[in-house]
Symmetry: C2
Subunit: 523 residues, 2 copies
């Protein structure tokens, strides 16, 4: 005879995650306190069977790990124990009643930044959050550089794997320490990353992701993956849920982002844009969903921009032009030292607005500038034979100041044209007019800082009322949290994978024509 | 488009294994050579999907291991590869056509001796066999000593595990070297061992196996077990099939033995006896099967016997008495130095036959001996106050010779009474008369050397014509081989587990009465 004590609370709890999503808590992690009958000569059921018999409403598998210490755990606890179940796996049996403590760890494994959130899965509340730069950074700033590194030297893949795993492990230790949670009470890990980051952290050769025809190793990850396969030291048998990718350039981070934004259930016509070196685009007409990737280049991350820099202290992130002045917002409230992606978009957008930059992307002549905006004309200079517009003076020399160059504008034009070509082809794919789009979600760490008005003005997004342009924030991380909190939502990721159609644009004959069309600014 | 080349041979092959069993080869290990279409921009199927699509008659899972090198293997081999499947797991994809090489490794993990057989699963032929003493020997000769050692010091379990794994690893290296087989071409391991050996090699606390009520940790092993969980370095993703136990004292070795002896399918009334320190007994009436264990003690392994020794060089293994002489067969054809189990049974049996030992187990008096067998009477002596019968003179002193003592006879009486009590209670359980038993299978390394006539004469087995007593040999190892060669036979092990009823004798009130009845020899 065994006594099965049901969980204390049976009312469904909910938590707010993702883009304002209310998620009913049905985590994969479950705990059950059970009081088992002790074995006798007439009841010699094996230890594991005794536990499983008390959980016979569940169809469970048990790993070797559980068996190793099960005999002493049961006996030391007088057969009063807590079963730790993740999905359909009994991962542990703990002495006494430990139902109160069940944590999960959600990762957003970015090429640049990695974010870890320790979640109390019984309440849906984050217990701690930490982020750091991906330790793969020294191997290259973007995925292509890192893939190339593995192709040049076979010893690089294990080093990249170790660097990524070390990043995850460091963050795990950090959030557990901050929240005062024993890492062994973290029973599941969810991870969202792009296809390359995911392959590298799992030690999978990434080469085919980087060269045409851009093929990934698998469409879905083995269910047997564990936190230890990611180098994360939490409960030794903790499973790992890794978001699957739609394609080599629409990764698990985007699938997680779609989940967090409710792309699988919202009936509106919505466009999801994750702005970055590789820009991912998803369009839903409320019924069908199509996705693609656009190679935007490093401009949005400050790369290939004369005074470009990452969004760090000293980076100009907001630019506003008045008749005779330039108003800047600088990260860290320090003297400006460079221009990050959102500042770049703002600067170009403002120059267009006041008429100092024409639709073709050319800075107006000095004479025209004097007429159009006399108070700003003195900011036009020439540095190394190239026309520039000085944003912030550092001394008297333009060359030593923070400026926007003619070539910078061209870089941004190419970047935004790639993106606009992407979404315009997706719109054609679903037969939707740009003006029909009811919501544009700007995702990713960069997307969050982008000014919707500027994005519209430079043509990065369709020409829509700014209220339809929404910053969605770090949706990949939110998707990972949702996967931890709800098996239903997690199933949604698999559904997305089946339902979203990946559209490869690089072999489209109309791509180049449309790209040229999109180079101009919509003035 | 993918081309699926079926295996070359489609006719079922068979191999002879176990107790004269013809087994149709349907191994879990399968190989398929496939020629896949190369990916293009219009066919960006992931690498794994491309492989699985070519094997769509199988429902396969793939481990992380397969994914890691899949990209380079496919491309280096121009997408002409061999899929390595074990049961429902794709464990590897090899370049080119490697269908010819598929090996499995069968272990009989005994408390004393460990045997490894490298099997070519495409033909059922052993490629190499090796055996060695279990490296756990220094921790104790029998399972109880080893269990006790773990209870005294928690550091002992990992050491016992390491010793067992080291034994298996050493044997794996040995058979692969002998057969010239690359260990990475060994794709599955099957292991049969008693419940304690199995627990120890997997690092599972064995304590409840050693104390009443004798409970094991699980009735069946996780399907996720791998060769690496046993410390065996073959293919890194090779699964391990570990035989389940019926109870703490009717282990996986016995389940394997039943399989090899066809206990699950033979319609005759059969009694299976694995003679050893712990003696396992199985009785089938062709319909129902019951099993139990009898604690026989160490007599059969030469323990607690004055001149006892293991079956090694110098051990008397066969004893024949004539009117005036003792004929001995000695292992290794050297001078006799001791008496092993089969020699002990023979000696007692022969003394009974010529009348020098009475039914109660008492050596006759010197006077009676002179009358009964004058030529043998001079062999009766007294050593340390105890009556002995000298089997082999070493010099003139009986004390320095190889002899059988009165107490040795008592030890054997206790051992055989335990066994006979076991099978007699099983006979009652199924309502079968001893004379109805159509076959007695003597299993285990000791059982193979036992003389059927002697076994009958001392009452170790029911009183039956000797032709009904069959040496079954190392049936545990044969069962492990069968599991490697046939999924059908392997399923039989699971069936046995469900159908065989384990009968616990230690709490039976009639046990002691019957034990006393069985102490006498059936003269």
């Amino acid at each position: 005879v065994s006594v099965d004590v049901p969980p204390l609370s049976t009312r469904p709890k909910a938590a707010t995650v993702g883009v304002g999503r209310q998620v009913i808590l049905r985590p994969a992690i479950q705990k059950r306190y059970v009081e088992l009958a002790e074995p006798t000569l007439s009841d010699q059921r094996p230890d594991l069977d005794r536990v499983l018999d008390a959980l016979d409403d569940l169809e469970l598998r048990a790993d070797l790990h559980v068996l190793r210490r099960l005999p002493s755990v049961l006996r030391a606890a007088d057969f009063k124990v807590t079963a730790v179940v993740v999905d359909d796996v009994l991962i542990d049996v703990e002495a006494g009643d430990t139902t109160g403590r069940r944590f999960g760890l959600a990762y957003d494994l970015g090429t640049t930044t990695v974010v870890a959130t320790l979640l109390d899965t019984s309440t849906g509340t984050p217990a701690a959050v930490a982020s750091m730069l991906n330790k793969q950074q020294p191997f290259g700033a973007d995925v292509i550089t890192r893939i190339s590194a593995t192709m040049l030297d076979p010893a690089t893949l294990p080093r990249l794997q170790a660097a990524a795993q070390d990043t995850l492990a460091t963050l795990a230790a950090e959030v557990c320490a901050e929240a005062g949670v024993d890492p062994r009470k973290v029973y599941e890990v969810a991870l969202a990353g792009n296809a390359t980051m995911t392959a590298l952290v799992l030690g999978i050769e990434p080469e085919p992701l980087g060269v045409a025809p851009f093929v990934q190793s698998t469409a879905s990850w083995p269910r047997s993956l564990r936190a230890s396969d990611l180098g994360v030291q939490v409960h030794p048998a903790a499973p790992a849920m890794v978001f699957p990718a739609l394609g080599a350039y629409v990764g698990g981070d985007i699938v997680a982002g779609m989940l967090a934004s409710g792309m699988d259930r919202d009936k509106r016509i919505r466009l999801f844009i994750d702005v970055g070196t590789n820009c991912e685009l998803v369009l839903s007409d409320g019924d069908r969903i199509v996705a693609t990737a656009a190679p935007a280049g490093p401009a949005f991350e400050g790369g290939a921009i004369r005074c470009g820099m990452r969004a760090a202290d000293g980076a100009i992130e907001v630019v506003t032009l008045t008749d005779d002045d330039v108003k800047l917002q600088v990260i860290g409230d320090v003297a400006p030292v460079g221009l990050c992606g959102s500042g770049l978009v703002d600067a170009v957008s403002e120059l267009i607005r006041v008429g100092l930059l024409d639709g073709s992307g050319r800075l107006v002549t000095a004479e025209d500038a004097k007429e159009i905006a006399p108070g700003l004309a003195e900011r036009f200079h020439t540095v190394q034979g190239e026309r520039v517009f000085v944003l912030a003076w550092n001394g008297v020399e333009a060359a030593e100041s923070v400026y926007l160059s003619q070539r910078d504008v061209r870089e941004l034009q190419f970047a935004k044209a790639a993106i606009a070509t992407g979404w315009s082809l997706l719109l054609v794919e679903l037969g939707v007019e740009p003006s029909d789009v009811q919501q544009v979600l700007l995702a990713g760490s960069f997307g969050s800082y982008l000014s919707p008005a500027s994005a519209v003005r430079i043509g990065l997004v369709p020409k829509l009322p700014v209220l339809r342009i929404v910053s969605a924030g770090n949706v990949a991380g939110e998707g990972a949290k949702m996967a931890l909190l709800s098996m239903q939502e997690r199933a949604g990721a698999a559904t997305l994978l089946r339902e979203v159609r990946y559209v490869e644009l690089s072999d489209r004959p109309e791509f180049n024509d449309r790209f040229v069309d999109q180079l101009a600014f919509p003035v």
